[in-house]
């Protein structure tokens, strides 16, 4: 039984890391209707920038500079790439996001090269045992960071003027415009927030895997989370991340040996598909009812 709980807790902790990536997707989709294919690449860019800055400045300054890079990227993306595409079909926006993904990878490679880089921001990686269950300070730290980030985002969207404006834009672009909310500025703010979330995800995953181009693949882990939680729900991203992390770990350890193993990649999709059967917009996705 102890082993079961160890696998479960380990899955929940890795699920938090998936949620960090999924939140970025949900934020942008909610505000602008863009399925941001480049979210994983944004985390990669943040990781690359941070490693680069860390070679010449202290951590706090390097983090600030990284946020600055992500802000420039956000404004550049909205005003250069998406501005001419306002009111275009979602597929066009998606294609633009794919283009953005390759652009970020190319820029990253041109500036920082292709070799893998270690990232150590000083979070201790000490393992300890409680009632026979191994835990690690690094995983727990990022669990705490993710929780704080979600709480901060919820507060921002519920309590601040800008947050309410962003929710208005997300609900109805035209209605928001009619009451004087600047659409492009709202989008830019959303991309900046998504950039900050991407930075946190980039730091978390970069510290685990090293900052290398494979980091962009973390986006793959976010997809079942988005399907399950609802593509436009931040709360859904968090809960679905936990569910996916736990279920894939448990499935790999307890079902895997009977079917040859290696099922942790497709199992989350299976869970997500079953949920879609009953909840077509995901657990917390907004149901879209259109007059036909």
């Amino acid at each position: 039984m102890t082993f079961f709980f160890e696998v479960l807790i380990s899955g929940l902790l890795v699920g938090v890391m998936y949620s960090l990536v999924a939140m970025g997707f949900a934020l942008i989709y909610k505000a602008s209707g863009v399925f941001n294919f480049a979210q994983g690449d944004m985390s990669l860019l943040a990781g690359l920038a941070l490693v680069g800055f860390l070679t010449v400045m202290p951590l706090w300054l390097a983090l600030l500079c990284t946020f600055a890079v992500m802000t420039i990227l956000a404004y550049g993306t909205v005003f250069i790439i998406f501005r001419p595409l306002v009111a275009r079909p979602p597929l066009i926006l998606f294609m633009a996001a794919i283009g953005l993904s390759f652009l970020i990878q190319g820029i990253g490679q041109a500036i920082w090269g292709t070799d893998a880089k270690g990232l150590n921001i000083g979070i201790p990686e000490i393992s300890f045992e409680i009632s026979g269950i191994y835990l690690n300070t690094f995983d727990l730290t990022f669990g705490g960071v993710a929780t704080a980030l979600v709480a901060g985002l919820v507060w921002f969207f519920q309590k601040t003027r800008t947050g309410r404006a962003l929710r208005a834009v997300a609900d109805d672009h035209e209605a928001a415009l009619s009451v004087g909310i600047p659409l492009l500025r709202a989008w830019a703010v959303t991309w900046v927030i998504a950039g900050i979330v991407a930075t946190v995800a980039g730091v978390a995953w970069g510290s685990r895997l090293g900052v290398q181009f494979s980091l962009s693949l973390i986006a793959l882990k976010a997809l079942p989370v988005l399907i399950l939680g609802g593509i436009d729900s931040i709360l859904g991203a968090i809960l679905a991340g936990l569910l996916i992390g736990a279920s894939e770990n448990l499935a790999e350890v307890f079902i895997g040996p009977y079917v040859g193993g290696g099922i942790q990649t497709f199992f989350p999709y299976l869970v997500a598909l079953i949920v879609l059967w009953f909840k077509p917009y995901g657990m917390f996705g907004k149901e879209i009812i259109e007059r036909v």
Binding site: S127, S214, G261
Partner: protein, 443 residues
């Protein structure tokens, strides 16, 4: 309207003239340079595995650059062209198709691409060299005349690995009852060694359990919990690729599994695999087939003459790293095959058949290795009609926290491995309707 037409006309004339003149200039330059032996380089400088591809490709190109500065191989200079595969099999095949008319030898630099190119290369008389990757049974030249695994293959490597583990445990008899976990990335490359490890387990009495890691392998918590807490492995074989090589080192450290009980495949033994893991990588062992570092006369020559003239193909910091050195090794094998073929067919630009003969008659002795400037870097190689592997040892290295240190050199269990290579190749021949060559009748 008329003015626009005239401007348009002049612009077209100008563009056509430019293309025509520059084309002629390039052709004249080419003629002046003389005939060259062309190599198509199926490289991956982009994508998740870029660290490996860029290192190997650049080491290879740096060597050719040096040789061209020295006048070429017996006067025949190299020319080459890169084609980006991004480690994607479909793109690799496309690159081969694009370059096949110019090249006679190809290094696919990917097991998936190798599988795809074996029938093509065989049909179109292009030598396919899969050094330390691809199909292990392709070492049998009777069935695979156009494929070379020189200097060694995965099965030989794994038999040497088991000998290495035995040595670490205090003797081969100590393998009995041991639990070995084979942690592999779940793609054909990862699956290649499962039968060999099973057979070795039966022979020596150890238990081996295979733990698949789904691509891309960025999260392996479940596998590691199973390996350490439930299976309670004594040794772990790390058979991953790219980022999935690094993850095990971190996960093992978290669970208190010692780094010096993890033994990696030679594709998990580069600086790029261990540096991101930080202190967790200390003590980790991997296989290899060539030396590491810059302390070899040939590499010093490349540094002086190629990088000294700013003609290097990669950041100078990567010169002497595992993947860059592997690129130099690749280039040396190609060149020795060319020199061997020149002796038989005369000094000229070689055809595919001639290059294949060169590869099949390699005899790189210890004296020749010293002459090349790579003493201590590589072991002697001797290929034949039947033996397309040619190497005799597998190196082992350990990460000391800062650099790779060579710790051992072990001969594979040749008889044990070759019995299985012959059986597997015979099965392949039967499936494909290939009549194996009779090597006693081959020149």
């Amino acid at each position: 309207m008329g003015r626009k037409l005239i401007f348009g006309f002049f612009a077209i004339v100008l563009a056509v003239s430019f293309v025509f003149i520059s084309g002629q200039a390039m052709a004249a330059e080419k003629k002046k340079a003389g005939p060259t032996q062309f190599f198509g380089i199926l490289i991956y400088r982009t994508g998740p595995f870029a660290a490996g591809g860029s290192g190997i490709g650049s080491g290879w190109e740096d060597f050719m650059e040096l040789r061209n500065m020295q006048g070429g191989v017996n006067g025949i200079k190299y020319s080459w062209e890169e084609c980006e595969t991004a480690y994607n099999t479909a793109r690799g095949v496309e690159c081969y198709e694009r370059l096949k008319d110019k090249m006679v030898l190809v290094h696919p630099l990917s097991t998936g691409i190798t599988y795809a190119l074996i029938p093509r290369g065989t049909k179109e008389h292009k030598v396919v060299v899969s050094s330390g990757y691809g199909r292990a049974d392709a070492s049998d030249g009777c069935v695979f005349p156009w494929v070379f695994t020189t200097p060694t293959n995965y099965w030989s490597q794994n038999s040497a690995k088991i000998k290495f583990i035995g040595k670490q445990m205090g003797g081969m008899d100590k393998l009995k009852g041991l639990k070995i976990a084979n942690l592999y990335i779940d793609i054909p490359y990862g699956q290649e060694t499962k039968p060999m490890l099973d057979a070795l387990g039966k022979k020596f009495g150890f238990t081996v359990r295979h733990f698949p890691v789904p691509w891309p392998g960025i999260d392996q918590k479940a596998q590691w919990l199973d390996i350490v807490r439930r299976y309670k492995a004594d040794w772990v074989i790390n058979r991953n690729w790219g980022v999935s090589c690094t993850v095990p080192l971190k996960e093992a450290a978290r669970l208190g599994f010692p780094g010096n009980r993890i033994l990696g495949v030679w594709w998990c033994g580069s600086e790029e695999d261990v540096l991101p893991a930080g202190p967790a990588a200390k003590g980790y062992y991997t296989a290899n087939w060539h030396g590491v570092g810059r302390n070899f006369p040939l590499i010093q020559e490349i540094i002086d003459k190629v990088y000294g003239k700013m003609k290097g193909h990669i950041s100078f910091t990567r010169v002497g790293t595992v993947y860059w050195n592997r690129g130099v090794y690749t280039a040396v094998i190609n060149e020795e095959a060319m020199r061997t073929a020149h002796k038989k067919f005369g000094v000229k630009v070689l055809t595919g058949d001639e290059m294949r003969w060169g590869m099949e008659n390699l005899n790189i002795t210890a004296e020749r290795i010293k002459e090349i400037g790579l003493e201590g870097f590589m072991a002697p190689i001797k290929t034949s009609c039947e033996n397309h592997e040619g190497g005799k040892t597998v190196l082992f290295q350990q990460w000391d926290g800062n650099k790779w240190v060579k710790v051992d050199e072990i001969a594979p269990m040749t008889d044990f491995v070759w019995k299985r290579i012959k059986a597997s190749a015979a099965k392949y021949a039967k499936e494909k309707g290939i009549t194996p060559r009779d090597c006693s009748k081959v020149d």
